[in-house]
């Protein structure tokens, strides 16, 4: 940039002073000083970096919102630091007060920055570009040339014709133009690219609306997860969810009372050698009842094709197996009889699960490794080689003792706390097998294999406004980065010999712009218009 302070920069420019001024005395002065500091560009910059840094711990530490069990384990394993971090909100970073403080300050800063700039911009949109500075030759893009004398026109006439031609040409190319005359000739001043600032303001304002939309969705929305076995179903009430979270103003008792039955879950995997095992199809056939007493209808939910109901959308998010197991105690009583959900660990659905039979005496627990298509090798041990249930097998390890369910600590149903238990055996089983446990403590039967599908059900009234805000932000951003805001001046004067001299100069507010094309166009018009 040639000039240290280009005339185009608005007075309400982000305060760019390098050394902050000290706070003045007096309450009013102090407040005003605080406000200026908060809305300065440097503060915005620092707050942006604070936001980036503050977001990091949430990606490293387990978070309550996604995995509360893991959080509890983490805290238990770090007795000194765990509770401290917990109290400071490190296991729920994005809801922590200090995280909110940063982005709220940032947004106050944005508002404090955008409002005065908007006022200034509106004023700028209504004023005409000012006349040329006296010394045009100091600007980066500057040309000076004499017009060939024209016998039909006086010098003054030639100047007027030239400037008129330039002005009307610029106007037709949507420049804002002002025009003036002086004793030696005249001038045209033109400005273009106001949408750069408009876009910038739009962008910052859209960010504020984005935050509002997100908050609106968080306050009035809810989301739950549920695993449904084939043939099973669920209705939209709090108790049926495996996990549920709602906004502050959502009552869990007043959810839309739809219900869904999973009639069939279809999966298909590629069997061709090169891509063996890659999934081709996940499809959940469901029967939906929008509300009790209303007519049922059937639907198919696929990944990326959720089911849209009035109050919520139902998404297919996962699938797996549920081998049906029957556990009998020493007396032959069935203390467990259910399709037990196992959780996939890899692409071939090598899955692990846990069965707890607290009613057996003594209590029984089983860890299972379920393999839809079983294989065993020396390196990887037992594993599955294909995700479909071609050749299912299960490795079951049996434990006896205290399941630890009575001490009040919440336990995952997918994890066996073996601290107070002893292992009594390990067995490989196929569907139909019955394993009589050692010492006659009971038996376990592997009946058959079913599937499960997991659904996420969500209601977010803020997402459409959020999308609109994000779209506006993107458009504003592109305007603000790609539009060149620039001024062009054309001035005529006379030489001593009576010829008309034309000077053209251009200036951009930002140093990235290349103004040669604009000046070339103006020069062509000036030369053409005088002829």
């Amino acid at each position: 940039m040639v000039m240290s302070s280009p005339p185009l920069s608005p007075p309400a420019d982000p305060q760019t002073s390098v050394t902050p001024t000290p706070p003045p005395l007096g309450a009013g002065g102090f407040l005003r000083w605080m406000w200026r500091q908060l809305t300065s560009m440097r503060t915005a910059l620092i707050l942006l970096f604070c936001l980036a840094i503050a977001a990091i711990p949430g990606s490293v530490l387990p978070q309550r919102g996604t995995d509360p069990v893991l959080v509890q384990e983490w805290i238990d394993n770090a007795p000194t630091w765990g509770p401290v971090l917990d109290r400071l909100g490190f296991f729920d970073v994005y809801a922590a007060p200090w995280f909110a403080a940063i982005y709220l300050l940032l947004f106050i800063s944005v508002i404090g920055c955008v409002l005065p700039r908007t006022m200034h911009h509106i004023r700028a949109l209504r004023t005409n570009p000012p006349p040329a500075p006296r010394r045009l030759e100091r600007l980066a893009e500057y040309r000076r040339f004499e017009l060939s004398t024209d016998s039909d026109l006086s010098t003054a006439g030639q100047s007027t014709v030239t400037l008129d031609a330039v002005a009307s040409d610029l106007k037709s190319r949507r420049w804002r133009v002002s025009r003036g005359d002086n004793e030696h000739g005249g001038w045209v001043a033109a400005e273009k690219g106001y949408s750069r600032e408009t876009g910038n303001l739009l962008f910052h304002a859209a960010l504020i609306f984005l935050l509002l939309a997100i908050s609106y969705g968080a306050i009035f929305g809810w989301r739950g997860n549920v695993i449904v076995r084939e043939g099973g179903g669920f209705s939209n009430t709090l108790t049926q969810y495996d996990a549920w979270g709602g906004g502050r103003l959502v009552s869990g008792d007043a959810l839309d009372p739809f219900s869904i039955t999973l009639t069939d879950f279809k999966v298909e995997f590629e069997r061709d050698e090169s891509q063996r095992g890659s999934p081709l199809l996940f499809e959940a056939d469901v029967i939906v009842q929008p509300a009790p007493g209303e007519e049922e209808f059937t639907d198919v939910i696929r990944v990326n094709e959720p089911l849209s109901l009035d109050g919520a959308k139902v998404f297919l998010v996962g699938h797996g197996y549920a081998p049906r197991m029957i556990v009998r105690d020493a007396e032959g009583r069935a203390v467990y009889d259910d399709a037990s959900i196992v959780l996939p660990q890899d692409g071939n659905q090598t899955s692990i699960g846990v069965i707890k039979a607290p009613d057996a005496l003594p209590q029984l627990g089983f860890q299972s490794l379920f393999l839809p298509t079983a294989a065993v090798d020396n390196v990887r041990g037992p594993h599955s080689v294909f995700p479909d249930a071609d050749d299912p097998a299960m490795f079951v390890s049996a434990w006896i003792g205290d399941l630890g369910l009575d001490n009040g600590v919440p336990q995952s149903v997918y994890r066996l706390d073996t601290e107070t238990m002893t292992q009594i055996g390990l067995e490989a089983m196929r569907p139909g097998d019955v394993w009589d446990l050692p010492d006659g403590v009971g038996s376990i039967e592997f009946v058959d294999v079913q599937r499960w599908a997991s659904f996420q059900i969500a209601h977010d009234p803020g997402k459409e406004p959020a999308l609109i805000a994000a779209g506006v932000a993107l458009v504003g951003l592109m305007l603000s980065l790609f539009v060149k805001r620039r001024r062009v001046w054309v001035r005529t004067s006379q030489t001593d010999s009576g010829a008309t001299v034309v000077e053209i100069a251009a200036l951009a507010r930002h140093d990235e712009a290349d103004l040669a094309d604009d000046v070339n166009a103006v020069q062509a018009t000036a030369e053409g218009g005088a002829r």
Binding site: S17, L48, A55, L280, G347, K463, L474
Partner: protein
């Protein structure tokens, strides 16, 4: 052609590309170390390779701001640079072929796992550089860019190579295709910008110490490097914004929420915030130049953490290697 041989052809093209790229890197290294400087001396063999600044009238070529910035290579160095560029184009073609064949073999877009994603990233880095180099003389950047591309490919074929081409149906979405391709192009642009910012810091230090000699003298001036870093980031930032929005739309469609602070999303956000910081820094007195360049490097580090760290070490919904 059987699918097995398609995969083999893909691998062969990738390896061939790496060989050509290595030669290209050597040529760029010669170009860089050969004697001759930009601007500080004038000799008779000069300037024909560069668009000459057009003073008045006819536009066309991008005018070079000041004659001091003109390239004054010795002929040997210039030839090496041209060879490097030509080889880089050849390597780019081979890489594009390899990546496309991989996609044809898999019957889908070639980013189902980290191996394929690395191939696409390498295409993006090299592509951004080469396309930009059609508009400017960027031979000084060739060494770093070919190096970064080779490193990406090296990691891809050694550490990340996977035969199994798993593609969960979750990836069958137009939004995801848009999201990933935009992110890959951004990755290329961020990498090129980081290389540029690194060179800026080197050159700026030399200018400050008044010791612009040797290889550093072959670089454009610090203020030009700063400007070019800005240009590429001003292109990449809206694209990154768009990539994040597209990702959110797809996440809403597939998982039922558009934002969940999943580690991948978190680092995408951090990266976005850092580059927003970069743009603000350039508009703030006292933060231009050196500090802005450090921020550009920081943004790139954050992008890399998102790419490698989150895919390999963190349990994220985005870890497609398995599930």
């Amino acid at each position: 052609m059987t699918s097995a041989s398609l995969a083999e052809w893909s691998n062969a093209a990738v390896y061939a590309s790496m060989v050509v790229l290595t030669l290209s890197m050597v040529a760029f290294a010669v170009n860089f170390s050969a004697r001759g400087t930009r601007g500080t001396q004038r000799s008779a063999t000069v300037t024909t390779a560069m668009p000459i600044a057009v003073a008045v009238g006819a536009g066309g070529n991008e005018p070079v701001a000041s004659p001091v910035a003109e390239v004054i290579d010795d002929p040997r160095g210039r030839r090496a640079g041209n060879i490097g560029l030509a080889l880089a184009w050849l390597a780019f073609g081979l890489l594009l072929l390899g990546t496309t064949l991989r996609g044809v073999w898999a019957g889908r877009v070639p980013w189902g796992n980290m191996y394929e994603y690395s191939l696409s990233s390498a295409v993006a880095i090299l592509g951004v550089y080469l396309i930009w180099s059609t508009r400017r003389d960027l031979r000084f950047l060739g060494l770093l860019v070919t190096g970064a591309t080779l490193l990406t490919l090296g990691l891809a074929v050694t550490v990340l190579y996977t035969e199994a081409a798993q593609l969960v149906p979750a990836l069958k979405s137009w939004w995801l295709i848009i999201h990933v391709s935009a992110a890959a192009v951004c990755g290329g642009a961020f990498t090129v910008a980081a290389a540029m910012a690194g060179l800026y810091l080197w050159r700026e230090r030399a200018e400050r110490k008044n010791s612009v000699t040797g290889s550093v003298a072959k670089l454009p001036t610090a203020s030009k490097l700063d400007m070019m870093t800005y240009r590429i980031l001003a292109f990449a930032f809206p694209l990154w914004t768009f990539a994040v929005i597209a990702g959110a739309i797809w996440a809403e469609n597939a998982w039922g929420r558009y934002w969940g602070w999943d580690p991948k999303e978190t680092w995408a956000f951090i990266t976005w915030v850092i580059y927003a910081g970069y743009l603000h820094a350039r508009a703030t007195a006292g933060w231009r130049g050196r500090r802005a360049a450090y921020i550009a490097l920081l943004g790139w580090v954050s992008f890399l953490i998102n790419y490698f760290g989150v895919n390999l070490f963190v349990n994220s919904l985005h870890s497609y290697a398995g599930v």
